[in-house]
């Protein structure tokens, strides 16, 4: 099966609370953070605003990849143009200077966008551990109309009863204990 070697193994044992709307999930996420549950994640059919703040997830580092790779691509493009046009085989075309900087701008720009864009996608794959077709799906409705809060099992001190007690008061449509 196709699998990204950098993908972290996904936890398959834990408690999944399913909600019918994102507001209940947001409240539950804040509550879970308050109680100090470890490794809590949420699964939603679309990006819900405020959820990563509620869960205390750090901001993505992908924009730095775009910036650095975009600049690298542009620099590589320009270097390549100068090397081919002025160093490897300087050819006089219509009396123009070998290093015709204004004429080199379009290809420099396109190289920057090309490398910046493709590397952004590569960074997204790396960050999300894609592709990984073996990862189990917690609930089929999580990409449809359910908003899930997932508390994975995290070791000997894990107290299933306590977590269930906290989540019961959050208006979940369904509480599932996954022992996969």
């Amino acid at each position: 099966m196709l699998r990204n070697p950098f993908a972290k193994p996904a936890p398959t044992r834990g408690i999944l609370a399913l909600y019918e709307d994102p507001d209940r999930l947001l409240n539950a996420a804040a509550l879970a953070k308050e109680h100090g549950f470890e490794g809590v994640d949420a699964y939603t059919p679309y990006p819900v605003h405020g959820l990563s703040e509620a869960l205390g997830i750090r901001k993505s580092w992908i924009p730095y990849v775009t910036l650095v790779m975009g600049l690298t691509g542009a620099a590589l493009g320009l270097t390549f143009e100068i090397w081919t046009m002025a160093v490897d085989w300087p050819l006089n075309v219509g009396g123009k200077p070998f290093v015709s900087l204004p004429a080199f701008v379009p290809v420099m720009f396109e190289s920057g966008v090309l490398i910046g864009g493709t590397m952004t996608l590569a960074a997204l794959f790396l960050a999300c551990g894609l592709p990984d077709l073996k990862r189990p799906i917690l609930d089929r409705n999580l990409t449809n109309d359910r908003f899930g809060l997932y508390v994975p099992e995290y070791g000997p001190g894990w107290n299933e009863e306590r977590i269930l007690r906290v989540l019961r008061g959050t208006g979940a449509a369904e509480l599932k204990v996954l022992r996969g």
Partner: protein
């Protein structure tokens, strides 16, 4: 959620009916993928494939005997093929405008139409890309366009706009594809989770194992924003570079600094017209009227009106500059455009692009499906003739009167042109059949906002009742 009722007062028209559930979105958007295609789809697909086969036959013949079968001859060495290239590249631009620029400006009405508009971009660039390749005398050496180490130790000339074009168009295709695919990943996951068997395996592979984890959404949203940010200057650069192909030549009619913004405005204009043409059909055939509403179409018609006036302004500026320049060659070229042997092409362009869209000043016509369908077709006819006018009328009477001639495209030119439409529609029809034509994830977020707005209105209505 089902207890939510329609709002008592509708201040801005909602983009989607708030009484829909999230599951309705998945069911209705994926419905065309899960049922057998109708007769209309089959007939359309058959026609498109027939045109592609016709093009394949003509191109095989052309590769055997050469470009002499086409209408191009001295002095008109760029004809219908290059017209088609610029036309199709232009069509693609609206898709990127809708997906990237409207995303950055947080125009949420884009959510229902961005997927199909981006698909249109990809297929339009695939169509456009054919033309420079088949316009090469020896298409089998097309890879010479790229700089690669070769035994002749030669490099491409990076000072040439034609080389910039190679980089601009191939970058545009690659980045548009990345952007489109990024948007599709969560929707493929939705389809995977509602299907079984081979469908589940295929859409599962396409979704790459996406699960909708918040840790992943966090990265996803930032990456999507970055791609939108890169696509925005990219789309402006692509048509500017295409216009440099003409503007850096010394030919009167081409050698002008207005070309980059003029070409970009024209591209957005024709692209939006093509989006309207496609969506009017798509929403009818696949029953998407509740997602692609009259409001969406009206917004697009407003952009058509605006960009139509921008190209009209460019035509006037171009003409004025030619007359005011005092340059007799420049002046002759423009008088020849409007009153010479190709006057019919020029006036078709002006009528279709400047006069016809003025009908959209009236709200009634902006919201009338038959009117907008006809206008969108006419705009595309007009925009095709704009490129034809720029290319052919500038060339056919150049500096030496002894070389002047009239350009007559042959049956082979027209067959390949028809074939390019077949090629484009073949891909678009396949897209409608196998991919979700509306971004389900994005529509759901708009749906939730609509529900909240409706809920608030309901509360407000209750309060009013209590107060009275």
């Amino acid at each position: 959620m089902s207890e939510l009722v329609a709002p008592a007062t509708v201040a801005p028209e909602p983009l989607i009916d708030p009484s829909k559930s999230f599951a309705d979105v998945n069911r209705e958007v994926t419905a065309p993928l899960e049922r057998k295609p109708g007769l209309l789809w089959k007939v359309a697909f058959g026609a498109a494939v027939s045109l592609v086969l016709l093009m394949a036959c003509v191109l095989t013949y052309q590769f055997r005997v050469g470009l002499g079968i086409l209408g191009i001859t001295h002095p008109v060495m760029w004809g219908v093929y290059i017209t088609n290239f610029v036309f199709w590249i232009g069509i693609g631009h609206a898709g990127t405008l809708i997906s990237a620029i409207l995303h950055l400006f947080r125009q949420r009405w884009r959510t229902a139409i961005n997927r199909s508009a981006e698909a249109m971009t990809i297929f339009a660039v695939m169509t456009a890309g054919l033309f420079p390749l088949i316009h090469l005398g020896r298409t089998w050496f097309a890879y010479w366009l790229f700089p690669y180490p070769n035994y002749r130790f030669l490099w491409v000339n990076f000072r040439s706009p034609l080389v910039w074009d190679v980089f601009a168009v191939s970058t545009y295709f690659t980045i548009s594809l990345c952007f489109w695919y990024t948007g599709l990943i969560p929707d493929f996951a939705s389809i995977r989770d509602r299907s079984t068997g081979w469908r589940r395996a295929i859409y599962g592979a396409l979704s790459l194992g996406w699960r909708g984890s918040e840790r992943h959404w966090q990265h996803y949203e930032r990456a999507y924003m970055m791609l939108a940010g890169l696509s925005t200057p990219l789309v402006l650069s692509v048509h500017s570079v295409v216009s440099f192909d003409f503007a850096t030549a010394i030919l009167p009619g081409w050698h002008t600094t207005i070309f980059p913004p003029y070409f970009v405005a024209g591209a957005i204009f024709s692209g939006f017209a093509m989006v309207v043409t496609l969506l009017v059909i798509l929403r009818k055939v696949f029953q998407m009227e509740e997602y692609i509403t009259l409001q969406h179409l009206e917004n697009m018609n407003k952009i058509i009106l605006l960009t139509g006036m921008m190209v009209g302004y460019a035509y006037a500026t171009e003409f004025f500059t030619a007359l005011y320049s005092g340059n007799q060659f420049e002046r002759f070229t423009f008088m020849n455009r409007a009153g010479g042997p190709f006057f019919w092409a020029y006036w078709t362009m002006v009528t279709c692009n400047v006069v016809v869209p003025q009908i959209f000043w009236f709200r009634r016509f902006r919201r009338s499906l038959p009117v907008m369908f006809v206008v969108s077709l006419l705009v595309n006819v007009g925009m095709w003739f704009e490129r034809f006018t720029i290319i052919v009328t500038s060339l056919h009477r150049d500096f030496l009167p002894s070389a002047w001639s009239y350009y007559k495209p042959t049956i082979f030119d027209w067959s390949v042109t028809a074939g390019s439409f077949g090629w484009f529609f073949m891909w678009f029809l396949l897209f409608c059949r196998f991919f979700p034509a509306i971004s389900m994830a994005e529509v759901k977020s708009v749906l939730w906002s609509a529900k909240k707005a409706a809920g608030k209105d309901r509360v407000r209505a209750k309060e009013t009742v209590h107060a009275s």
